[in-house]
């Protein structure tokens, strides 16, 4: 059941959850504003979304302690939609994203995550970090030196403040960064861009509104491609984050419930004037690090975020963009998997190629879905290539009877079919050919076809061809037999009959 959660999930770690929720709320504000700016909408759209998504996933999400809100991965996908069609279409696309995610949840597509290999996940995370960083660049180009100084000072505060004894670990350093930079900007009175310049901030609680788009097929045609990409990327990031939180907390989560929960949260966001979002890797790590474990932490983060923004909107408007940029650079540094750089030397080349290809495709297209698709495709091809090496042949000539026997071992499928044929010597003039397939596995039609070719060719050379063990070998074209539920059949295939 979607609303089912134990008392333990909610109240098992009350003190830790409330405090961690506060820390996360503070860190979420700059992010939500920054991601709204990336998407090209008013900061309030991201802030309402973050509130809504955090609160709803606290109840219906599948991973207690994970933070979901407006995210960079999603914001990047919306840019052209907002530019060409406006905010209302974004809200409609957000609603549709939610519906698609719920359907995916019911279809249990979360289990498709098993195709996403470790290197693709690393590539995704790294690409995301690079995109978040790149999105900050417009704030850092064509600006006065003040902005650079402020950003550098901000980063200094963020990373050095935690080193202070006692208070360093009690007060969130991003908050200190934002407060001090805002104070400096206000006191010195430098003319730099502030959050207030970027668009409207929320001054009320969110209200229910149906996106004012024409309800016709043309609208669907516009929003569907966006919604589909949003749904896929949102689920990918959410499920990856859920796995990270699972690892960190040594507990398990319900991935399909997470899909449905994200869907409901996005529908909620769309109806309250927010943009689509998903789980956030950086914020979830911050939450765990601050001691958050239960659903309460996510709820507190969402509620506190909204309260602070609504009541302090005049102050929030004064925050210099440079402070936000510092926080976002921190997020991108924290999101990037630095261990993966070290591992490049250690890992096999194919693994590295998959990871780097994922990063390159994402940075090129600004669409994480394409990157993951490329990574999964490449990973599968590499795998097919590796497994095709598990095929070899032995041949033996019996001169008395003029019989050549070929014995095959291993996997024969589309990738190894050519190599399968290369093992035959069609030029050799023998009167009998025996092809022993008893220990070979035929995985597809390509393999069967190449066997036919070989038999025909030998016949044309005048040999009598005998195929041994073909029945068993063909039985391994598993598609037709669906042997997964018959252990004895599986044994036959994997154990070489």
């Amino acid at each position: 059941m979607l609303l089912h959660s134990t008392k333990q999930d909610w109240l098992g770690n009350m003190r830790g959850d409330v405090l961690a929720g506060l820390v996360v709320a503070l860190a979420l504000i700059p992010e939500a504003i920054a991601f709204s700016i990336i998407a090209g909408v008013d900061p309030k759209v991201g802030l309402y979304a973050s509130f809504c998504i955090a609160v709803i996933t606290a109840f219906v999400g599948g991973r207690p302690g994970m933070i979901s809100a407006a995210t960079g991965a999603m914001a990047l996908l919306m840019v052209t939609l907002v530019k060409q069609h406006g905010l209302e279409y974004l809200l409609a696309a957000t609603l549709l994203t939610g519906f698609i995610q719920i359907i995916m949840g019911y279809l249990k597509l979360g289990s498709l995550m098993s195709f996403v290999s470790r290197s693709v996940v690393t590539g995704f995370v790294n690409a995301l970090a690079i995109l978040i960083f790149m999105a900050q660049l417009p704030e850092l180009t064509n600006v006065t030196w003040h902005v650079y100084a402020m950003t550098a000072a901000g980063l200094g505060v963020i990373y050095l403040f935690p080193l202070l004894p006692v208070i360093g670990k009690v007060i969130p350093s991003p908050l200190v960064c934002i407060l001090s930079l805002t104070a400096v900007a206000m006191i010195v009175g430098i003319d730099i861009r502030t959050v207030g310049d970027m668009g409207e901030l929320p001054d009320t609680l969110p209200v229910f509104l149906w996106p004012s788009v024409p309800l016709e097929f043309a609208t669907l045609e516009i929003i569907f491609p966006y919604a589909m990409a949003l749904a896929v990327v949102g689920l990918l990031e959410s499920l990856m984050t859920a796995t990270i939180v699972d690892d960190l907390t040594d507990t398990s989560s319900d991935k399909n419930r997470e899909c449905k929960g994200q869907g409901i949260a996005n529908i909620g966001a769309g109806l309250l004037g927010g943009m689509a979002g998903c789980a956030m890797i950086g914020q979830s790590v911050i939450n765990i690090k601050s001691g958050g474990r239960g659903r309460l932490s996510t709820l507190v983060a969402g509620v506190v975020l909204l309260i602070m923004v609504v009541f302090l909107n005049d102050w929030v408007a004064q925050i210099p963009m440079a402070a936000l940029v510092s926080v976002m650079i921190m997020v991108s540094i924290g999101t990037f998997d630095w261990g993966s750089i070290k591992n490049i030397k250690k890992y096999p080349i194919s693994t590295n190629v998959v990871m780097i290809a994922t990063v390159v495709v994402v940075v090129w297209t600004h669409n994480l879905a394409y990157g993951v698709f490329a990574g999964v495709l490449l990973g599968s091809l590499f795998f097919a290539n590796k497994i095709s090496h598990f095929m070899y042949a032995e041949s033996h000539l019996d001169e008395e009877t003029s019989t050549r026997t070929y014995t095959f071992h291993g996997q024969i499928f589309f990738n190894s079919a050519d190599r399968f044929l290369e093992n035959f010597n069609f030029k050799e003039a023998v009167s009998n050919v025996v092809i022993d397939l008893d220990r070979a596995h035929f995985w597809d039609i390509t393999a069967v076809h190449s066997l036919d070719m070989a038999v025909i060719k030998f016949r044309r050379e005048g040999a009598v061809v005998k195929v041994i063990g073909l029945n068993q070998a063909s039985e391994t074209i598993i598609d037709r037999f669906g042997i997964h539920d018959k252990p004895e059949e599986l044994e036959k295939v994997l154990g070489g009959h």
Binding site: K7, Y159, R293
Partner: protein, 289 residues
């Protein structure tokens, strides 16, 4: 009768030991049962995953490799915590085992596992003949009233007889069966009739309220047939108070009743009768579902 076959499917007497003040009594009562019914005794202790974060840092900053660093820190802290808890549990179980062996139980085993108690009991359910556990766990040890949240979860999720222990062990000389004819009560009656535990001690068949003569005489006939000495009583007043008072006045050593028949929501509103009974008495209560 075939309906009640599943009452005694399991083989083992299971006792939950957690180091709280009633753990000794739990061990004693379970040894007593195991001795009489001649079944193996299994002492079980669960190491619960503490949801509280072992280390916290409110700095809110994430930098180079934060995630990996955090993971390795958490692993280290939790590893040392868990290994300490395993050792503690081992000591507890060994002490309990020794006392059971001293009490004359020959077949005693110990079992330690990770996860919530209810989870692992569900896993072991098929082997359970009777489960013995304390009214309050270690977490609620300081409270003098109220039942522990573990107990409630366990009662709800298990379909086996559960003996809830609240005071030090005294060998029961009389049993009391609170009887209202409900399915769970009939199960309890069946238990008294068929278990070796109740063969040698007299049974008080008690009903609160009027007009249950037929019900009671039918039940008492069954008990007499089984060779058990029966006293039939009808009490007035609030069920929980009347039963508790009767138990104390007559020095009843062990009580049997049907448990938590309502759904959780109704319990929340009305307060469960079973929970009230558990709070008001000072002798163990054998619950049947």
């Amino acid at each position: 009768m075939s309906d009640y076959k599943n009452l005694f499917t399991g083989n083992e007497i299971l006792a939950c030991i957690d180091g709280s003040s009633v753990s000794t009594a739990v061990c004693d009562y379970s040894s007593w049962i195991a001795g009489i019914v001649e079944r193996p005794l299994k002492l079980i202790h669960s190491i619960e995953n503490n949801p509280e974060a072992p280390l916290v840092d409110y700095s809110g900053a994430i930098g180079l490799g934060s995630q990996d660093e955090l993971l390795s820190e958490l692993i280290e802290v939790e590893q040392s915590r868990a290994s300490l808890m395993i050792k503690k549990g081992q000591l507890m179980l060994n002490a309990a085992k020794e006392s059971a062996v001293n009490a004359g139980v020959t077949n005693v085993s110990i079992y330690q596992h990770h996860g919530t108690l209810a989870e692992s009991l569900i896993e072991l359910e098929d082997d359970i003949r009777v489960l013995v556990m304390g009214i309050r766990g270690k977490e609620h040890d300081s409270q003098s009233e109220g039942i522990g949240h573990q107990l409630e979860t366990v009662i709800r999720s298990l379909h086996k007889p559960i003996l809830v222990v609240n005071e030090e062990f005294t060998e029961p000389k009389k049993a009391m069966l609170a009887y209202d004819g409900s399915a769970a009560c009939v199960k309890a009656l069946q238990m008294v009739i068929s278990s070796k535990l109740f063969k040698k001690i007299p049974c008080h068949l008690v009903h609160v309220g009027d007009g249950a003569e037929a019900l009671l005489s039918e039940a008492s006939d069954k008990l007499i047939q089984a060779g058990i000495e029966v006293t039939t009583v009808q009490l007035e007043g609030e069920a929980d108070e009347a039963l508790a008072k009767y138990q104390i006045e007559n020095d009843i050593g062990i009580m049997l009743m049907g448990a938590f028949s309502h759904n959780k929501f109704r319990d929340f509103l009305l307060g469960s009768f079973t929970a009230k009974m558990l709070e008001k008495t000072n002798r163990p209560l054998l619950l049947l579902r």
